[in-house]
């Protein structure tokens, strides 16, 4: 083994020699070439310190010798007995050299993109900026969402809304408004309280404006923008989206009140089955119904359920990227858009029946009182209940508390 020309200053450095000699020697071999290949000295650890603490390449002329208060062996004298070297444990598995960069786990951008497009998911990594959501490198789901927004929602919405308008127009033109068959009686009966009516109109105004501003987001660019120009359309859409966001609050509040006030009267009863069997809205004559008939109950539960889902998905869109990531937000838009379109179509039907479609219906929500004959034809059971209540009140004008009216059983 070649002896490395080490600049040893102190005998105490002898120990370090054992460690330093090996790499230094290896270096020497490379320089001189052809002295035969020799591994590290026997007993030296396989994993070695890369940079020797003492030796070539360290210190040199300006090398600092650490000062020590400990007693040092005088130089030049007898060398201390070498410390017996302990057997260094060899690693159970030999550490193999890493494969060259060319052969390492191949990452291919093309393949990863293709895979994500076909199987879904995103290519994600680490970023060193605070916005950790920026770690998503490629999200191909945006392509599907684009397809939904520009094709599916566009045409489904158009079919639902325009289709409903066409159906209602046809009904109006063919059969005309539904008249009170017996004619107006001149007597009215209270149907909705002031609170119910105020709440109804709060929801109605919010819904109409929400619907119009929402339809503008989907269809405005292709319908309105060419008519009024880009600047005016941006101004309109900007205020539209502001209105859309602020009016969500009265709309949701109104839904909660409707749930509290009208849930009891909308619970399904046996008479509803009979009403549907009789033909529902197209029945001959007037099948009996309670305060609300089966169609109204269905609309009630559809708008309540749909309203809750539209509200939840809408608030997810209002605070994007807080609860869900970008893909969750896309799904929120899918739910919001589709349900809103169907709800607009359903409410168009409701508006038709409540206004020009049926004589005597609008008064219930404007004045709160409906004609006696209207009630008799459309909500006979409810009218009987109300009449029974009224008769009881008349029969016992001031019943003492706890007393039972004769014949009440």
């Amino acid at each position: 083994m070649t002896r490395a020309p080490l600049a040893l200053r102190a005998g105490a450095a002898f120990l370090a020699l054992a460690l330093a000699a090996a790499p230094a020697a290896a270096q020497q071999q490379q320089n001189t070439q052809g002295q035969g290949t020799q591994g590290p000295a026997g007993g030296s650890p396989e994993v070695q310190s890369v940079v020797p603490e003492v030796g070539d390449g360290r210190g040199g002329m300006n090398q600092q010798v650490p000062e020590s208060t400990e007693k040092q062996a005088p130089t030049g004298g007898e060398r201390p007995a070498p410390i017996p070297q302990q057997a260094v444990p060899t690693p159970a598995a030999p550490i193999t050299a890493p494969p060259p960069a060319t052969a390492r786990g191949t990452t291919s951008g093309d393949e990863m993109e293709l895979q994500r497009i076909l199987r879904g998911g995103v290519i994600e990594g680490q970023v060193s900026i605070p916005n950790q959501a920026a770690g998503v490198l490629v999200q191909p789901d945006g392509r599907d969402w684009r397809e939904f927004r520009n094709t599916w929602l566009f045409w489904i919405g158009a079919a639902a809304v325009l289709g409903m308008i066409a159906v209602l127009a046809a009904v109006y033109l063919v059969s005309g408004p539904k008249r009170i068959e017996a004619g107006r009686s001149g007597r009215t009966i209270q149907r909705f309280t002031a609170i119910e009516r105020v709440n109804h109109w709060m929801v109605a105004v919010s819904f109409v404006l929400l619907g119009l501003s929402g339809l503008n987001i989907t269809y405005g660019a292709s319908v309105l923008r060419p008519l009024i120009g880009p600047e005016a359309f941006t101004a309109l859409t900007y205020w539209g989206q502001a209105v859309h966001q602020y009016l969500s609050f009265p709309f949701v509040l109104g839904l909660v009140v409707m749930l509290a006030v009208w849930l009891r009267d909308n619970l399904p009863r046996k008479v509803d089955v009979a009403w549907i069997k009789a033909g529902g809205p197209i029945a001959k004559g007037h099948p009996p119904a309670g305060k609300f008939n089966a169609a109204q109950k269905a609309l009630y539960f559809f708008t309540m359920g749909g309203g809750v889902l539209v509200a939840v998905s809408g608030y997810l869109l209002m605070f994007p990227m807080t609860v869900t990531g970008v893909i969750g937000t896309q799904w929120a838009h899918v739910v919001h858009g589709l349900l809103a379109m169907v709800m607009i179509a359903a409410i168009l039907g409701h508006i038709y029946i409540g206004s020009i479609g049926m004589e005597g219906a609008f008064e219930g929500m404007s004045t709160g009182r409906v004609d006696y004959n209207w009630a008799k034809e459309h909500h006979s059971l409810w009218l009987e209940e109300e009449a029974a209540k009224a008769r009881e009140t008349v029969a016992a004008p001031r019943p003492p508390p706890g007393a039972r009216v004769a014949g009440a059983d």
């Binding site: 093309d110 490198l137 927004r149 600047e231 209002m318 605070f319």
Partner: protein, 198 residues
């Protein structure tokens, strides 16, 4: 006319983030907005790659397709730019963008996210080239001065390439042929519906 593109040679990118810094400085991009970012995938594992990503100026750009106010336009160099005076900050472009490029300054109530901001390929916007108004809205316009985007120009390892798509693809091909490996042109399949075949 050229078809300007970005190409990040992920085998050269050392995640120094100089492109990010250069972009922010050149255009005075405000806090919280990153027109360009460096994403490291498989961080600390075999196959680790860093990719500098910004708007890729897609062919048939999804952002432009879903914009409810049609504020995007494509230049003669095929750059996808937008008019901030028309943007309403709805965020739809972000949902559609495969690369997370659109950024929002988060001003205003609720989802009111202010005008969208994104990489302009250092080409400004619809305002007069190199005017103060353009600088304030979109940052500097290096393309109008005959220069390429600063991020790519000052990339220390020349990992990020900007320029005509065919030229930068041929540079990348030559590199891969010489060194014998390459992880491909990241985002090209998604953005341009093509890949760089070696």
């Amino acid at each position: 006319m050229a078809r300007l593109k970005f190409l990040c040679d992920a085998d050269r990118c050392i995640e120094c983030n100089a492109c990010v810094t250069a972009c922010k400085n050149e255009h005075e991009v405000p806090w919280g907005i990153n027109r360009r970012r460096v994403v490291t995938i498989n961080d600390g594992k075999p196959g680790e790659r860093s990719i500098s990503m910004a708007c890729m100026h897609c062919t048939d750009a999804p952002c432009a397709a879903v914009c409810p106010v049609s504020c995007f336009y494509t230049t003669a160099d095929a750059l996808v730019l937008h008019d901030k005076d028309l943007c309403i900050g709805c965020g739809y472009c972000f949902y559609a963008c495969p690369f997370g490029a659109p950024q929002y300054p988060r001003v205003g109530n609720f989802g009111g996210r202010g005008k969208m901001d994104k990489c302009t390929y250092c080409a400004g916007g619809p305002q007069q080239d190199n005017s103060q108004a353009e600088y304030l809205q979109y940052g500097s316009n290096r393309i109008a001065e005959g220069k390429l985007p600063l991020c790519a120009e000052m990339c220390s390892t020349k990992a990020l390439l900007a320029g005509d798509g065919e030229i930068i693809a041929s540079i990348y091909k030559e590199r891969v042929q010489r060194r014998g490996f390459g992880s491909g042109a990241w985002g090209w399949r998604t953005a341009y519906k093509e890949t760089v075949t070696i």
